[in-house]
């Protein structure tokens, strides 16, 4: 089975993140780039499926040159090869444009199963897997808390607020997985060494048969007009519990009409 796992490099969530004044895009330069944490579950699921069903795992990532660090890390977890979609014209693409480039790259690369994380921790739109399924015209088996494959049938547990739905579709298909679906493996030393030799193919817009007028900041269908740091919240009242902390909290809640 030809499994493609889509991976995004994002700014480290443990540090302060912001946008770039001027073009209002995500500041990726001044912060360390890491694999989107939620994509680690997608990589693990892809590897598990390949181990169980046989097949190959390809990492697909769109991003600037810096994204190659995250691609190597994904390869060191055990993926077989990678495709890096890289083109200056893609910078500042919104979700609609990103889904276009990824869908076109998937057509070039070929796939039986595409696996995404549920969202990225930077933009957090959560729309790209659904958009890619729509563009490719294949089943959208998203927000999976469990994935089972039997022949050409894929069955997932789709996480819902009150429980889950059992959803079935046929390959080729797009799957997204939720946090905690599995326990992502750590790269081993051997894996890290092996990753250095694994093939990484680069694809430009020309390879995707897209022209520069269909992607990038200037052509985006949505635009960030302005941004500002959230003003700090007004300092609150902090009391030390001296046997009456619970009562004081209750008084506060009563003053604010919560009780």
């Amino acid at each position: 089975m030809n499994i493609v796992v889509c991976v995004k490099q994002v700014p480290d969530t443990e540090v302060e993140r912001s946008l770039v004044p001027g073009d209002n895009t995500v500041d990726r330069a001044s912060v360390d780039g890491v694999i989107n944490y939620l994509d680690e579950f997608a990589i693990e699921e892809g590897l598990k499926i390949a181990e169980a069903q046989g097949g190959e795992v390809t990492i697909l990532s769109m991003g600037p040159a810096k994204a190659s660090e995250s691609i190597r890390k994904a390869l060191s977890m055990g993926a077989d090869k990678a495709v890096h979609v890289i083109d200056d014209a893609l910078a500042g693409s919104d979700a609609l444009e990103t889904s276009l480039a990824i869908a076109e790259a998937l057509k070039v690369v070929g796939f039986d199963l595409v696996v995404f994380g549920s969202e990225s921790t930077d933009a957090r739109t959560g729309v790209v897997p659904a958009m890619v399924a729509e563009r490719l015209g294949v089943p959208q088996l998203t927000l999976a808390g469990k994935v089972d494959i039997s022949g050409s049938e894929v069955t997932i547990r789709r996480v819902a607020d009150d429980g889950y739905e059992v959803v079935t579709g046929s390959l080729p298909a797009v799957v997204s997985v939720v946090e905690k679906i599995n326990e992502p493996r750590y790269p081993t030393f051997k894996g890290i060494m092996a990753a250095k030799k694994k093939p990484v193919q680069t694809l430009t817009l020309a390879d995707l048969s897209l022209d520069a007028g269909s992607v990038g900041l200037a052509n985006a269908a949505s635009r960030v007009e302005d941004f500002a740091k959230r003003p700090p919240r007004a300092a609150g009242v902090i009391v030390k519990d001296e046997g009456d902390g619970g009562a004081k909290a209750a008084s506060f809640l009563a003053d604010r009409k919560f009780i």
Partner: protein, 322 residues
Amino acid sequence: MAEVLVLAEHTADGEVKKVTLELLSAARRLGEPSVVWTGPGADAAQPRLAEYGAAKVYVADSPDFAGYVVAPTAELLASLVASASPAAVLIAGTTEGKEIAGRLAVKTGSGVLTDAVDVTEAGGAPVGEHANFGGAVIVHATVQTGTPIIAVRPNSVAAEPSPAAAAVEAVAFTASDAAKTAKITEHVVAEASERPELSEASIVVSGGRGTGSADGFGIIEQLADSLGAAVGASRAVVDAGWYPHAFQVGQTGKTVSPQLYMAVGISGAIQHRAGMQTSKTIVAVNKDAEAPIFEIADFGVVGDLFTVVPQLIEEIGKRKQI
């Protein structure tokens, strides 16, 4: 005035979710709201939709909406966008709502704004306000192409009554084969809970590492129940297996914006704050006076949660009897 489509979130028997009423209030700022109702239950809901300002209600009662993952809903909305030329489409910013918005954006070649915490109008076009990077940065965004599609975070816009006709218009709809590739064969309700849904609740009580164990976490449920609140949990609690992942609040869990958020035994690391710092009022209980949660709390108690919380529950009980 231009129509604004509002996709209703509801139960099968016609109970309208609160977020739908919030969307109606937001839609009125942009034009005349038309609710889009998928599946059964519209008759029961009509009075409530009228009360909150729906001028029109498009009703497409087809089993395809419950039978297949999101694609039929996106297809219906796309056909209504074509026929009604709305000024915007508003959808609940839930995980499923965002997926519908995404597919609709592709179908109509439109820009989509996700997770708006407010919607305003400027120069005849909608502007979405967003709390990005876990609420650290406030962003205003617009749509440049097509019909603006905006997914609005539940609990962000106040639902206000504004009586209107809510004239029902039946829409014939059958999903195309292309929209029927991901079939829902079963809906399993995990556990019947009396508590409100986490993303919709006006009060959320969350517990963290300080609860110490799955048993210790029980005190969070007790406090939540005394307030009629939803229960949330920090990532540490979920990672430790003390509470299910579905209740995780944070950067990679649910993002909530209740009227009152109580963080109990939660230090308030960036990962957690990302999921709750747009809450209107924040109360924290933590034994560490240096915990970052106190920087954003409106009221904080530095103390042992196992003495503070039982006293709080008792006080809440007393005040209820008055």
